[in-house]
Symmetry: none
Subunit: 524 residues, 2 copies
C-alpha cells in the first residue's frame, strides 16, 4: 500500500449497474482476482440487505488472500431504533470482518426529504452507529453520501455530519459525489476547505455522471486524499463509478505512487476483462489503458512514426498494464504478434519458413475477420497451427449430424444423432440433452468413450455465447467459447458461425480433440 | 456561438477509430445532424489524403446549413517543395471552404525522428503554409500536434512553432494532446504559461488515453480557451477524442455558457445514437448524459427518494439532453421501484391491492431467482403484469414446434415446424433459417403474417445470450434477451431455460405478442 489506499466497490456499488447480477460464486472469484491485483480493501456487500450478501461473508472467510481486507457495508442505524437492536448493524458484526463502511446522509435536503427526520436526529444516527462499531473493535470508514452537493447547499450542516463521525471515532471519512455531477474544480475547492476543518484522513468515492470520475479522483489525490474508491471498468449505477482501471495506472505510472507493484499492474487488463466477462458486459475497446484498442494504431503516419519510436504515439508502454500494441492493416505487426504467440505455445520459431509464417498470418487475419478470436482460445490456436504445420492427425472425423428439438408446452427436448469414423470404424450414436448443444456433446462423448476412455475426465466447465453483429437479430453471427478441464489442465476453444449449432460444434470438436492431444503427449 | 466555439472532428479524427469507416453519404448525413445540434465548425476531412474526402467537399456545398462552417484539414506543406506547388495545399483551396485547419509538428522529437527534418526547416513549413493560406483570404486554425508533450520536452522550441504560426497570421492556435496522456493539472499549467506568450486565441484538441479527455477540455475552458475540439461519443483512434456529448452539456448546464440553445441541447442524445449507429458502434449504456442508463435507477433507496424529488439522485434533468429517467425492477429493488414501473407502463396503481403488489413482487423475485431479468426487459415485464392483472388475451397460442438442424461438413441447416392457433384457426407452417432460433422466428412470422400484417414492420434488432451458471458447460441455464423494433418503438423481452431453444422461444413469443399489443393500443 502506498500513501493512498485502493478501495474497490465493484461487488457492492458496481453491482448496481444496469444488467449486472453477480452470483455468490462470481463474487468470490472476483475477490480472488482483486486481491491478486493488489487492491487494499474489497467491499463485499451489504449483509443486512439480502441473504446472498450475508452468505458471501460466510464463504469469503475461506479464501486465502494475500493482502486485501474484506469490508462489509451498511447504512447508519434506522431512525427510532437503538443501534444495538438494529438487525442491519448486528449483521455487520456477524459478517466477521475487521473493517466496515457506514454510509449516512450528509446533505440536509436528503435528511429532511428522503430520510424524513430532523437534522439533529441524523447526527444521532451517525454518532450512535460509528461509536457502537468502534466499541466493538472494528475499523470504521464513514461514507458521507452526497457530500459535495450537500456542501454547496449547506456547508455547515454537511461539515457537522463528518465532524460527528470524527468525534465518534471514525478511522476515515469518505467524501462522496453520489450524483456524480461535480466538476473537477468544485471537487478541489471543497476538499481544500474540508481539510482545514477535519483531522481524520479523507477518502473519496466518486460517480461518473459528468464523465469526470477519473479526473476528479486524481484531483482529490493531488489534494492529499488518503483513499480512492472505485470499481473495475467503472461499472455501477447510471454512468458508473470512478474507474479504477484508469486511476491505478495513472497513480502508478504518472504520479509514481506505489499503490500496487509493477507485476500487479501488469494484471490490470486481464482483471478488467475478467470482471466484464463475469458481469456479462461487453468490454469496451476504447477503454483507457485496458481496452483492446487502447494501444491500437490505424493512421498511416502514426504507424510509420511508431516503428521509429513507440513514444511518438503512446503515452505509456502498453505492457505495463498487460495490454499490447496493435497495428491495424499491417503485415509486419501481424508477424511479430504471431511469433510471440507461437513461442508462447512452445513451438520452435526456427522451424517455420518465412513463407509459412506469412501464410499463417494471413490465415489468422482471415479467421479473425470472420469473427474468430484466438486471444482467449489458445487450444483452438494450437490445433490450427498443429493441423497446418505439425503432423497432427485428427483422432476422429464426423461425417454428419442431426439435431431434433421438440417442444410441447414449456418443455423442449433435444436429441442428437451423429455419424463418426474412429480408427476406420464407423460409429452411429444418438443421445438426448438439456439443449441442442448438450445433446450433441452427450452423443459425441458416447461415440468416443470406448475408443478414448480418458474422455470421461474431460468436463465442459464453461460455455459462452457472444452475438457478434447484434443488429441482425436472430440471424446474427455468433461466437462460442468452450472451456474444458481434465482436472489438471484447462483449455478454451472457439467456434464462429451464423448458426449457433455449427459454432458450438466447432468449439466442441476442438475441445475434445485438444484434450485427446494433450493426453497422448503425456503418455509419450 | 458563446464565448467558446465548438469544433467537431468526428468525420476526420473520429474516423480513425477502430472499425469505423464512413461512406460519403454517412458523412453528409452526420454534417446535417451536427449542424442541427449547433456545432460551429465541422471538420469534414483531409481533401489531400483521399478521393472520398475530396468528393465530400464538392457535395457538402449543396447542403443547406443553419450555422455550421465546414472546415478542411491538412498538414503543412511537404519538405522540399514550394507551398504553391504542394498538391495537398492546392486541394485545400479547391475544397471551397472559408476555414482550414493546418496541423504541424510542435514536439522537437517528432520533427527530427518522425518527419526527419531540421527544427528550422519545420518552422519554415509552418510559416509558408499559414501565410500562403492567409493570403488566399482563408481563416486558418493552426493545430500544434503533440503540443503538451513537446512543451514538457522542449518548451522553447514548442513555443517557437506556435509563435511562427501567429506571425504568419493564424486566426487560432489549437493546442493538441495527441497522445492523450496529459494529466488535468499539467494541461492547466501549460495553458497558463502559453497564454503569457501568445496573443492569438487558443483552442484545444485532446485525446482520451488517460480517461481525462472531458476533464482536460473543461479545465482548458476554465483557463480561457476559445475553442474546444472533440467528437460525438468520443470516437477516435486508440481511446478516442474528447467526447463532445459530455463537454457540451457541462458547458451549457454547469457553466451556463451559451454554446448551443436549449432546444439544440435536447437533441444531444439522438445525435449520439445516430452517429453510433452510422459508425456501426454499439451505443454505451453508461455514457454520461446520453447513454441509455445515464439516468437509470436500480437501488430501492434511490428510487424511493427520487419519487420525493428527482434532484436527490440526478445531477441534471435528463430531458435537457433529450434523455429520460428509467427505473429498474430487480431483486435488489423494493416496492417503490415496482410502483414507479407500473405507473410508467401506464397502469393505475390504485387498482392494485396491497396483497396484489406483494404477490407481484414475490413473483418477480421468484422469476429473477430462476434467472429472468426484467430490468432490461420492459416488454416481458409489461406482459407479465397484463397477463396477471390486465385483461390481456394472447393473440395466438402455440401447440407444438419442432426444429431439425442438419449438419454436413461446415454447413448446418436449420428448419422449424410450428403448429399455431390464431383466431380459432389452426396454422401449420415450416421455414428455414440461419440457425435454429432464426428458423423458429421465420416460421412464426410466416404463420402470423396473414392475420397480423403489421408483423412485417417488427424487426429483431438484437439477440443476446447469457449462460447463467457457466460451470455446468453446455447443460447450463441460459438467458436470452431479444430486442425488437417496429421503426418507432423498441422493446426488449426475456426467456430463461436450460434449453437455449426454449429460452429463445419465450423471448420470441413475448417480442411478437408485445408488438401486436402496442399496435392494437395505437389503433384504439
Amino acid at each position: 500500500m502506498g500513501l493512498v489506499s485502493l478501495y474497490d466497490t465493484t461487488l457492492r456499488d458496481g453491482a448496481q449497474g444496469e444488467g449486472i447480477s453477480f452470483s455468490l460464486d462470481d463474487k468470490l472469484k472476483i475477490v480472488y482476482r482483486l486481491d491478486e491485483l493488489g487492491i487494499d480493501y474489497i467491499e463485499g456487500g451489504w449483509p443486512g440487505s439480502n441473504p446472498k450478501d450475508e452468505e458471501f461473508f460466510k464463504k469469503v472467510r475461506n479464501l486465502k488472500l494475500n493482502n486485501a481486507r474484506i469490508v462489509a457495508f451498511s447504512s447508519t442505524r434506522r431512525p427510532g431504533i437503538k443501534v444495538e437492536n438494529d438487525s442491519n448493524i448486528l449483521k455487520l458484526l456477524e459478517a466477521g470482518v475487521d473493517t466496515v463502511t457506514i454510509f449516512a446522509k450528509s446533505w440536509d435536503f436528503h435528511v429532511t426529504h428522503a430520510l424524513e427526520i430532523t437534522l439533529d436526529d441524523n447526527l444521532d444516527l451517525i454518532f450512535d452507529t460509528v461509536s457502537f462499531l468502534k466499541d466493538k473493535g472494528l475499523k470504521v470508514f464513514f461514507d458521507a453520501e452526497h457530500f459535495f452537493d450537500g456542501f454547496e447547499a449547506n456547508p455547515d450542516y454537511t461539515l457537522k455530519t463528518i465532524l460527528t463521525a470524527q468525534d465518534a471515532g471514525a478511522d476515515l471519512i469518505v467524501l462522496c459525489d453520489t450524483n456524480g455531477g461535480q466538476l473537477t474544480s468544485q471537487i478541489e475547492n471543497t476538499i481544500k476547505k474540508v481539510k482545514e476543518k477535519v483531522s481524520v484522513p479523507l477518502g473519496i468515492h466518486l460517480h461518473n455522471d459528468g464523465g469526470l470520475g477519473v479526473a476528479n479522483s486524481l484531483a482529490a489525490y493531488e489534494n492529499g486524499i488518503s483513499q480512492i474508491q472505485g470499481t473495475i471498468g467503472g461499472i455501477g449505477e447510471r454512468c458508473g463509478n470512478a474507474d479504477l482501471c484508469s486511476i491505478i495506472p495513472a497513480l502508478k505510472v504518472k504520479y509514481n505512487e506505489d499503490v500496487i507493484t509493477e507485476e500487479q499492474l501488469s494484471k490490470l487488463k486481464s482483471v478488467y476483462h475478467y470482471v466484464m466477462e463475469i458481469a456479462n458486459l461487453i468490454p469496451q475497446n476504447q477503454t483507457p489503458y485496458v481496452g483492446r484498442s487502447a494501444f491500437t494504431h490505424k493512421g498511416g503516419i502514426h504507424v510509420s512514426a511508431l516503428q521509429k519510436n513507440p513514444a511518438t504515439y503512446e503515452h505509456i508502454e502498453p505492457e505495463k498494464v498487460g495490454n499490447r500494441r496493435r497495428v491495424l492493416v499491417s503485415e509486419l505487426s501481424g508477424k511479430s504478434n504471431l511469433k510471440y504467440k507461437l513461442k508462447e505455445l512452445g513451438f520452435n520459431i526456427d522451424n517455420f519458413t518465412k513463407a509459412e509464417l506469412s501464410r499463417l498470418t494471413k490465415k489468422i487475419k482471415f479467421l479473425e475477420h470472420k469473427g474468430y478470436q484466438f486471444e482467449g482460445a489458445d487450444a483452438s490456436f494450437n490445433l490450427l497451427v498443429n493441423r497446418e504445420y505439425g503432423n497432427h492427425k485428427p483422432f476422429f472425423t464426423v461425417n454428419d449430424f442431426k439435431i431434433i428439438s421438440h417442444n410441447s408446452g414449456e418443455m423442449t427436448n433435444s436429441e442428437a444423432v451423429i455419424k463418426l469414423v474412429v480408427n476406420n470404424e464407423k460409429v452411429h450414436v444418438a443421445a438426448e440433452g438439456d439443449g441442442p448443444v448438450n445433446a450433441l456433446d452427450n452423443a459425441l462423448r458416447k461415440g468416443l468413450r470406448t475408443f478414448f476412455p480418458e474422455i470421461k475426465n474431460m468436463k465442459l466447465i464453461d460455455y459462452k455465447v457472444r452475438v457478434l453483429n447484434g443488429d441482425r437479430g436472430t440471424a446474427a453471427k455468433v461466437r462460442v467459447l468452450i472451456e474444458t478441464s481434465n482436472g489438471e489442465d484447462t483449455w478454451t476453444t472457439v467456434g464462429v458461425s451464423t448458426n449457433i449449432i455449427q459454432a458450438s460444434w466447432q468449439a466442441l470438436i476442438d475441445s475434445i480433440e485438444y484434450g485427446l492431444l494433450i493426453h497422448e503427449k503425456k503418455l509419450e
